[in-house]
Amino acid sequence: MMAEPSDFYPVAPGSQPANDSPDYGSTHLRHPRQPLLRFPHTITETSGPRFAATQFPAMIDMSAVAGRAALGERIVVAGRVTDEDGRSVPHTMLELWQANASGRYQHPADQHDAPMDDNFLGSGRVFSDAEGRYQFVSIKPGAYPWRNHDNAWRPNHIHFSLFGAGFASRLITQMYFPGDPLLALDPVFNAVPDPAHRNRLVAAFDLALTRPEWALGYRFDIVLRGPAATPMENPGDHR
């Protein structure tokens, strides 16, 4: 069977969390029991939306509202978005959201007994540049309890949303912080089967990104699915 030009690499074994992940309680009633239908990609899966900065204006600094600084440890997060062949993904939109320094989201459903911070709204939006590089400013999010199990706390994390080349590249993920003792206890993080892939969700502290007298720097590189550079023998043979 000839490969079609836009075939994506199949999902790498162990790289993605299973939706049936019993340690994460909310998965119990929300994962399909039937096997996924195997169907090779068509243009519906390999094409995807494009976002213009004119319609989706960038919001690169979450650390202040109307010039009033949020409480917490100011951080710079930067990295590069590439595809699985290492090619940069330029001008792609990243959506970001996170808890404030106390571990509370600016969201009505979050009733955690921790202070709100009206100078921290907790969402941002940036676009990668021509080389796939992105950067934003925020404050380090706090840990928070989430009742998944006895004394359960989510590690510090920032939510990321990316689109990439096609609907098949859609990625929602979370960036974690190095050295967090809660990582080893977290069923969401540990749902990624292969530790090598799991640990890629942990940003690296980067002194070169750190701005003296102002903010600590963290590097978080992201890889999106995309068209394979070389045709595959069995493009429909996922996993």
Binding site: T27, T42, I43, F167, I172
Partner: protein, 176 residues
Amino acid sequence: MSRAHAATAAQTIGPYWHLIDDAALADLTRFGAQGERITFGGRLLDGAGAPVSDACVELWQSSPSADARFPGWGRCGTDSRGAFQFITLRPGPVAGRGNALQAPHLALNILARGILTRLYTRAYFAGEALNASDPLLLLVEDPMRRASPLAHPAGPGAWQLDIRLQGPGESIFIDI
């Protein structure tokens, strides 16, 4: 086949993703798109039949082609009934692999607390002649299950499809 790096692992969108939401995103005609305007909506239900009220439903359609007036993509949060609704243009047939032709369809990603990797499904339109020869629908042997991605008319220009994550009537989810 080889690759430099596997794609970054997915994680759940969680219960607080509304911080990036905007109700306008559910209307794909908001930039003045021209064509046959439809609403497409439904309810999202869990394995106990209860509404999933904190989900993010994202829609993509490769027909009609996206342009400055038609983004082809939308996002809609589910409400306390698990309901979502998009305003969009009715899609036409879509080229498949090789010489195949696909029946008109909408692509849907379901993202929510308790879903670690997005669930991908499609919605088709009941009564379309091409449904009988659609390459994806033909893969589903059980006729009941094959009919499960068919949206049904719910008034003029209105289409309805409930999505069941688990259990009786479970929707078809696709390995993407």
